[in-house]
Subunit: 345 residues, 2 copies
């Protein structure tokens, strides 16, 4: 029986008479009180995100997109080189099923992870982080979890829109399960990488390929077609994405190409998550994809999937990868570590 | 080892040069896309929350507060009478340890709950929902979970500020554990009720009183002294609280009285959660206390406590109690049901 009557009283609420969409007024946002001193210092020293500038900087022509990606990838590769050196992580380029991958080996492997592997799908709005830059999140996982990581350098737009992106992830996974126990391996990533993690798990299931033992779904771009609450509420609040009308939506357009934007291969929220492996999800209060993360969590739960949701005060989109040396970064990885040790076989 | 270098590239971000606090511009917020048709209809038919009107309606004098509470309690009591009749729930007034309680008995008790009890602490900004109105959330729990509920009608300000509120909850709990197995009982509530659930568990632990088998911590007012991200971001977005400067902060002032606002008995986020029972938490994207919920979840996790976090697109503060007949209301109670069946003994 569904109760059609609300037992709470609305008598004390006062509402104006406008209809939707609501027009929200200006407001101030101070640095958050209850975060680590390190994260607070980072946020206090972050100049306010500039929405207009972010939109103006969105590349238009294919040449501009290529230059944008190349510049970002070069900066990313330089940082990866530095981090892998500092953390003594061996980074070896390889090829699996015809796809470039990077094998990341930390100096010490945790005993529980000796026979286990993290298969990492990088983010970057479907246009950035090819080449060595693909490994940035993987390096943190290798470092904090003391775990071997394979980062997939999947093909990307503008030359290779979806579903090439997804098929590269599927091809690498299918090759890896031929000589690894599937449930000893996790599959996961952040942002576009979390989108691809979900989108690739759908064909794995459909084609009867053995599924991962666990998924990491970090602030996923789950619905590329619709707008959700926090894409509005956190515009100009999220220091990483700044605005969905910036390069994020541009990257999405390039990736979707001629496909239907509601195809689960590009917007996995429209897929069927029944039978998915246990999933770890993370977001933050300033994340433009907080809504997407919440929606994926609920959809997994409705499908009966084990799904653990974590969110952090003050963190923007994917900020758990960028806000080093804030202890929140280590905390996320400690939670991921616990989750994988519980669910991988 | 803490990595002091971020492996992600900031090269593509563009920032302005202002310092904190950030000044956020106007924006539009349409009804959310990925919610149930019922919830979408409710939100489309909700006039936009009016911040100025909410602040103007905050009572000032003690007489105004008493009239405000009395009006709200009368409306609440009328609704409770109607709901208990429709749902065939028996509501019996009783007294435990000198405190008024309401014993709620649904027409059918689920087999797993025959020897179990939900001890409910009502919300209402520490000033509302005395008398029969105290049972509104308890009725939903009794109805959806098919579980016996005891709702505590604790003393409230202005006549009885903290710690009288907490001591009434502690006294009822202590009396109940004399003839119930403590870990067969859950303790919980929403908003001020979740604040008191956490605040009362602290003295239970300190005084060596047997702890609940599980806690329900619904969108807790966890820090009454500081402001967190979503108190700013969701002002005028949250259709229930509307603004922290409305009656919410007024109720808090009355409740805190002469106590230090950082005393864990009024702001439990400052307490030590080590050894707390497994906790279920819930919030929504439009909730002004989304940050407080996230902070309590993280603090529980850091203390090694089992804590499951749920959040819902489009829901305002405590909206999972008000948005009937949206299926999100039933979904929350189904999740709470699973959690209690897993963790109560």
């Amino acid at each position: 029986m569904v109760l059609a009557i609300s037992p709470m009283s609305f008598a004390s609420l006062s509402w104006a008479e406008e209809s939707s969409p609501w027009k929200l007024g200006e407001r101030e946002l101070p640095p958050p009180a209850h975060v680590s001193p390190e994260l607070r210092a980072i946020l206090e020293n972050t100049p306010q995100p500039d929405v207009d500038a972010a939109i103006a900087r969105r590349p238009e022509t294919l040449e501009e997109w290529r230059a944008f990606a190349a510049e970002s990838d070069a900066t990313g590769a330089a940082l990866v080189s530095k981090v892998s050196e500092v953390a003594h992580i061996d980074v070896a380029e390889d090829e699996v099923a015809g796809v470039t991958v990077y094998r990341l080996t930390p100096p010490e492997i945790a005993p529980e992870y000796r026979e286990r592997l993290f298969v990492h799908v990088h983010g970057g709005a479907f246009v950035k982080n090819s080449g060595l830059a693909a490994t940035s999140e993987g390096l943190l996982i290798a470092h904090f979890l003391k775990m071997r990581v394979v980062s997939i350098d999947y093909r990307m737009p503008p030359d290779h829109p979806a579903p090439a992106t997804i098929e590269d992830v599927v091809a690498v996974w299918q090759a890896l399960v031929s000589d690894h126990s599937s449930d000893s391996m996790a599959l996961g990533g952040t942002s576009a990488g979390a989108n691809l993690t979900l989108a690739a798990t759908l064909p794995l299931k459909e084609r009867g390929i053995a599924l991962p033992g666990a998924l990491m779904v970090g602030t996923p771009a789950a619905d590329l077609s619709e707008v959700n609450d926090t894409k509005f509420l956190n515009e100009g609040v999220d220091r990483m994405l700044v605005s969905w009308s910036g390069y994020g939506a541009g990257g999405v357009e390039l990736c979707v190409g001629d496909m239907d934007i509601k195809d689960p291969r590009v917007s996995p929220i429209f897929g069927d998550f029944t039978g998915f492996p246990p999933a770890y999800l993370i977001t933050g209060t300033r994340d433009m994809l907080l809504s997407d993360t919440a929606l994926v969590h609920r959809k997994l739960r409705r499908a009966g999937v084990i799904a653990d949701l974590h969110f952090y005060e003050g963190l923007s989109h994917a900020d758990y990868l960028t806000a080093c040396p804030a202890p929140e970064v280590a905390e996320h990885h400690a939670e991921l570590d616990r989750f994988l040790k519980e669910h991988l076989n």
